[in-house]
Symmetry: C2
Subunit: 236 residues, 2 copies
């Protein structure tokens, strides 16, 4: 399975399941930085390999085989992130960038070794769930975006859903990290901004940020998960 094919399948999976965007060839092409024509070509080819269903002018849908491949890649990606984060004290953005390459060259054998070494972690340093070897993905309903939080309450950060360097730089700068606690001091209705208190500082965050920073109630340790914690974003 080539890297191009793997990335194509993963892009469909992520658009469909995680980002809730549609999976027409054009959207996948944009995500991967290739032409629409290339995406259509690839879609047709992968349909013959039973990785996805292709109907002209319609959204692409992964087959079971395609979905398994995508989840397997996501597993490897997140295991690498967890390992690199633990061993090397790298930033969230750096571990993402390296994992994006390593995931394609990782045997199931090695993935299991990494997982065992880390004691089969359920979440990576972004708070994203790590699929099990069999493809099962934990779904936690106790976590929700900061935009839905309530004024005056204190929460634990549970997930940072992004892969953009600027966002992670901002988070690192202000102590926004899975496991840390924040207090919501103000939910401004008129401009949809949220004021929070963290590390003795006050921050004002707009919707772009409060939609991708996830939090949970302080006592909701339903799943006894480790530091980088919980989530409920659509992953199945």
């Amino acid at each position: 399975m080539s890297v191009a094919v793997e990335n194509f399948i993963k892009a469909i999976y992520k658009n469909g399941v995680q980002d809730n965007k549609d999976t027409k060839p054009g959207n996948i092409a944009k995500k991967l930085g290739i032409s629409n024509a290339a995406a259509t070509d690839m879609a047709k080819k992968l349909a013959t390999r039973d990785l996805l269903h292709y109907k002209k002018y319609q959204a692409l849908e992964l087959t079971e085989k395609g979905t398994k491949l995508a989840i397997n890649l996501v597993r490897k990606h997140r295991l690498w992130e967890a390992l690199l984060f633990k061993l090397f004290d790298m930033s969230l953005h750096d571990i993402h960038r390296e994992a994006e390459l390593l995931e394609h060259q990782t045997s199931d054998f090695l993935a299991n070794k990494i997982s065992a070494y880390l004691r089969n972690p359920k979440f990576d340093p972004h708070g994203d769930p790590i699929p099990s070897e069999k493809g099962h993905i934990i779904r936690d309903n106790n976590t929700f975006p900061l935009s839905k939080s309530k004024e005056g309450k204190t929460y634990i950060i549970s997930r940072l859903l992004s892969d953009e360097k600027e966002f992670f730089d901002f988070c690192a700068l202000h102590g926004l990290k899975c496991g840390n606690s924040i207090t919501v001091t103000n939910q401004l209705q008129f401009n949809k901004m949220t004021q929070i208190y963290i590390n003795n500082n006050t921050l004002l965050l707009n919707e772009d940020f409060t939609n991708i920073i996830f939090v949970k109630e302080i006592n909701s340790d339903s799943n006894s998960s480790p530091e980088p914690t919980q989530n409920n974003y659509k992953l199945f």
Copy 2:
């Protein structure tokens, strides 16, 4: 730089510097499992990219740029082997196989992180020297093949020069491992076999093996190197 190009350059480097075979396209092709025609094509193309010198019907020679690329890959390969061996208790053959893939997807940044984490090791678990970030390779004249050892003496195993599973399986089975000590009980002249004593067992090894198992004198800790130790095989 594609994986195919990287492997091509590395094959020239290894044939030339380590295995002492010649580097005509045919030998490189055999090593990589591609056709002679493909090797010639590739050689011509890489000559235009200043990675090697190409003259019809002659051996390929890496340029300085090509040599640097090869050494950088060897560095990443051996760092991965050292890391995987330390973390995951994998066999010498397994770490080689995984490193062979990972080396191509490893940034210099990550390689340096791995090196620092391992406290800048000078040797990998096979006893092969790990090139420094700048490309310097330790050369140790105190180590030599078991075939050149003397009857009755006891040595420390310093290097296992191979990438064949069968060899490593044999080594693992009999405790042949860098850092372990062996006593040469017999050097048989007539059939070039060597009898050794290791782990309370006697083994009879033929030339194929005694040429790729390297040892050093017990007190020759000239370079204060760690367990997987020393070497003097041609690497520059």
